[in-house]
Amino acid sequence: MRRILVVQMCRLGDLLQTTPMLRGLRRLHPGASITLMVLDGFSHTPIPRHLYDDLAVFPLDAAARTISGGAEQWQSGVTLAREFVAGLGAEPFDLVLNLTNGVLANLLCAVIPSRQLRGGVIAPDRTRVVRHPWMAYFWASLLAREFGSVNLVDLFCRVAEVPIDGEGLEIDVPAEADEAAARFVTGAPLIALQLGASDERKRWTPEQFAAMANRLPERAGTIVLVGSQGERPLGERAAAVLSRPIINAMGETSVPELAALIRQCRLLVTNDTGTMHIATAVGTPVLDLSTGPVFVHETGPYAVGSLAVEPISACFPCAAGAVCHHLSCRDDFSPDDIAGLVMYALEGGALPRPPRAKVLQSARAASGRLEFRPIWDPSGGTQEQLRQAFGRLWDASLGHAAPIGAGAGVDGPLDLDAEPYRSALVACAVRADKAATLAGRIRNASPDQAAALSARLAEALEREQLAATLDPVLRPITGYLRTRLESLTDRSVDDVAAAYEREWRGTAYRARALTEILFSRTVSVA
């Protein structure tokens, strides 16, 4: 492996979440040159230099200006994009890892020459195909989020086929950043509050933060507000309610200086933001407030022992692009609730039990993945248990490198009545086996027979999707199957038939494996 391209065109937090994967690639392919592709707006994210060799910065802002400049100027935007791709070199990459859930990245992967691509790409027929089982899981999980169970950090490692090492995120904090952050450090213990977030739905209100801070005893520490210059109005709103002295560092720090300051804090209370991942990278404990589209099981702070709070509103989590006019899930946990959890995080003791919110804490699963497990769940439902079961299913069925170092954990017993799911899963396995048999028969069939068998296979998929509507426990399995079938690019009838047979057999295996997991028996790897 000589050239590897990692396409990570998301935000600061996503870049930090990619660092364990980069570390794993370095170990697995010590002689390879790693190019990291990022957007211009986040090219200054302090990713440690030893994790990559080249930085390819896509000129998003410059291209956007050409479009907004006038009707004909878009042609210079096209030129910018072409020149960027040409600048990557004519020699194909040995491996391209597209970690970005977005159209632009998928289009770029369609034109960047590569020998092996994992992730999304736009095919010549203009459809999106997804390559690699773990990326298929990721895309399918977006449609069945209630069962989502794999943290992005671990997902990236799975896609790159590198072991999870349990060493956490990395960030570069130069000495001068420590010196600059020192001006905020008074010697008293500090609790940082991150008020902002990129989306209003993800944001507990500044007033709620302030009310929470007012309830903390003095011994908890001095409150320091962190965030960007653009978030300063939020700090002003909080300051109007706060009744204790604070340190306002909002807009006063660069990203490295913010990291240095957070490193001095005993706790960060935060919305789901890049700051949260910075805290995790520098080893500061985190209390993550999840609202709106945030799903801690996907993007929670990647460190063992992290705390997270989730509302139990029926519409949570909402879809990524949904517009919400009521934001009611933010009220599911009160300032009292969070103040109690802050003290629990700092001093231990009795766990607060918010009546309308779950409290989760992260721990390692046996496979090495980081899971957020409920330590308090007023909904009393089986959702969390099912989520853990699915996590084990995907580990078993999609395969993974064994964890190394501090990567391994323990899978506790599941505590749910799985009987309601048995018949649906058994029936799914039977149907899937039949469909696999049908697909196998296509290879020796005449054209007319093959057409008839294909029609029956289409009906089989349709029945499976209908079954998933009636039995939601099947949705992740069916969604994965569909994503895989939609992404087939085999050309010959025999190859397509073989692929179909393989995927249907896999579905049958997963249905049986989930049954075994739910009834606590050992699962054999597919």
């Binding site: 004909e72 692009g321 009611s328």
Partner: protein
């Protein structure tokens, strides 16, 4: 490239996209040069032959144009454009045929012709070689005026002049629209008929509603149910035969049927036997009306309002071409009325719902009963929501428009008779969604899988649960201005993307051969249109035009990939 050439090429209009591209991509022709006439004007010289007067091309052109008396002509030859300019100065409408793209290229570099090129479509002889195009050109104007120097220099133009009188004028396609005898699709059929006409087709509506009285009489006969069923079947066959006879006489190029059109298997087989293509737009929920399974294989094209596995089922039923085509609204019909005080008094409400009391609606709407709910329709009087019934009955469009316009929040709950909550199969969008949007009336609609592709979040407000519906209703009752703004944005979007013209355009583009595509005649039924509007295409000036043109290739080329990148960047940055 000189500024003059760039401006001219940018202004260039053409009747055919690929022809315009050919011109823009052409290289300068060998043997074509630009000289200066005695009077100072630029003159093209082609292998020693001047394409205009070497002394005074303007005066010569005016003199030649005086011999042309027709109100609209096709000019064979461009030269330096002086002849065409002289014709236009006399009020003559003009389209030009040019021998070679290189001639246009040279002319574009010779002098400023932006005024001419932006309003006179130019086609090349090569562009006319595509089947049907010569007939379409002929349909624009019967008279061909020769630009003598160009014709003298060009054997191809000479040949065009020689055969011009033998060219058959293209005719618009004939489309027979068949609606149901009764039911919601009846109005859809009428809207489809109007849309096809606006698109330039010669369209006829088989209005089966004239048989509604007979059907009603048969339904109410005091005979056993089996006998009634037998008679209804016979009656349907008879109406179907009438449709076939109508088609046999008129010879449409396409029979376009709407859901519940009285076309049974024998009638469809008869149409097929007569070589008449058919298309079916099933504008109903396939799960509710399953009769489509019997007729699917008899239609040449099947359009459904549900995608995914529904289309798979339709194909499994034998349809060879099945596509998803969402509903739409009619901008001529779904128009917001001007409300009087009396209208406000009668129809005004905070929250209203108009429609039938399906099981799920009876339960869902109860959640907002205390918010000033008003109900319109038959059957509510027998439900627990009876106190909220404003008026019962079946209302005409005029009444419904007033109800929608006078309501702050129109609730749009897709029907389901087997659950008490929201429809668990959200795979289609009902016509009400589009009609309310077209009218600019604010609605709260239950979440549907396809909606995000049809309307953006700031154009359409959806709910995923009854609790969310109530929260949203409370939010917007407190902020009517915000609701109004969303409704206005929805109206813009509906007018741009969700008209029956757009949908019928898709059906005709896919169902009709190239030479029978509707071609808007600028001097026929829609004579108030300028020639510029009637021009079918020009080279892409905007990113959207470039995308639309590039997306016509069977597979995605590199150019299109980069265009799509820019479009995504525009979307992403715009959403920030």
């Amino acid at each position: 490239m000189s500024a003059v050439r760039a401006a001219n090429l940018a202004a260039l209009t053409s009747l055919f996209t690929d022809d315009a591209e050919r011109v823009r991509a052409s290289a300068p022709g060998a043997g074509i040069s630009v000289t200066t006439a005695t009077a100072g004007h630029a003159v093209l010289d082609w292998s020693g032959r001047a394409l205009d007067s070497r002394r005074d091309p303007v005066r010569a052109a005016v003199s030649a144009a005086a011999d042309v008396s027709a109100p609209a002509v096709i000019v064979a030859g461009l030269g330096g454009g002086y002849f065409i300019e002289a014709l236009r100065a006399r009020g003559v409408r003009v389209a030009a045929v040019v021998d070679h793209a290189a001639v246009i290229d040279a002319a574009c570099g010779a002098r400023d012709m932006t005024g001419l090129l932006s309003s006179v479509p130019v086609v090349t002889v090569e562009g006319l070689s595509v089947r049907g195009r010569l007939s379409q050109l002929r349909a624009l104007a019967p008279v061909l005026a020769a630009h003598s120097p160009s014709v003298t220099a060009s054997p191809d133009l000479q040949q065009l002049c020689a055969r011009w009188s033998d060219v058959r004028e293209a005719r618009p396609p004939r489309v027979l629209v068949v609606g149901p005898i009764a039911g919601g699709s009846l109005e859809v059929a009428r809207s489809v008929h109007r849309a096809a006409d606006r698109l330039g087709a010669d369209t006829r509506l088989f209005d089966a509603s004239v048989f509604a009285g007979t059907q009603s009489a048969l339904l109410s006969m005091g005979v056993p149910a089996e006998s009634r069923k037998y008679l209804q079947g016979k009656f349907a066959l008879l109406v179907g035969e009438a449709i076939v006879e109508d088609a046999a006489e008129w010879r449409p190029d396409l029979v376009l049927a709407l859901a519940q059109a009285p076309l049974s298997e024998p009638s469809l087989a008869a149409l097929r036997q007569r070589g008449i293509p058919t298309a079916f737009w099933f504008v109903e929920n396939t799960r509710v009306l399953p009769y489509w399974k019997d007729v699917a294989r008899h239609y040449d094209r099947f359009y459904a309002i549900q995608p995914g596995r529904v289309l798979d089922q339709i194909r499994a039923a034998g349809a060879t071409h099945a596509t998803c085509l969402p509903m739409a609204a009619d901008p001529e019909v779904h128009v917001a009325p001007t409300l009087t005080d009396a209208d406000h008094a009668r129809f005004g409400s905070a929250v209203s719902f108009a429609g039938a009391p399906y099981l799920n609606r009876r339960h869902v709407l109860a959640a907002v009963a205390d918010l000033g709910l008003k109900l319109w329709g038959d059957g509510w009087e027998a439900t627990a929501l009876a106190p909220h019934l404003a008026e019962r009955g079946r209302f005409d469009l005029e009444t419904m428009r007033r109800v929608f316009a006078a309501t702050t929040i129109n609730l749009n709950v897709h029907s389901a008779d087997h659950v008490t909550g929201l429809d668990p199969d959200p795979d289609y969008v009902n016509p009400r969604t589009f009609e309310l949007a077209m009218m600019g009336a604010f609605q709260l609609v239950d979440r549907r899988d396809m909606l995000p592709a049809l309307f953006d979040d700031d154009e359409m407000t959806t709910f995923a649960s009854v609790a969310e519906m109530r929260l949203l209703a409370q939010h917007f009752l407190a902020r009517p201005g915000e609701a109004h703004a969303i409704g206005t944005r929805a109206a813009f979007r509906a007018r741009r993307d969700h008209t029956y013209d757009a949908r019928v355009g898709v059906i005709l583009a896919e169902s009709l051969p190239t030479h029978l595509q509707p071609f808007r005649h600028p001097w026929g039924a829609h004579a108030n249109r300028t020639w510029g509007e009637a021009s079918a295409s020009r080279s892409p000036r905007t990113l959207d035009e470039a995308l639309a043109q590039s997306a016509t290739t069977p597979s995605m080329e590199q150019d299109e990939i980069y265009l799509r990148m820019l479009a995504d960047i525009r979307h992403t940055v715009g959403a920030r």
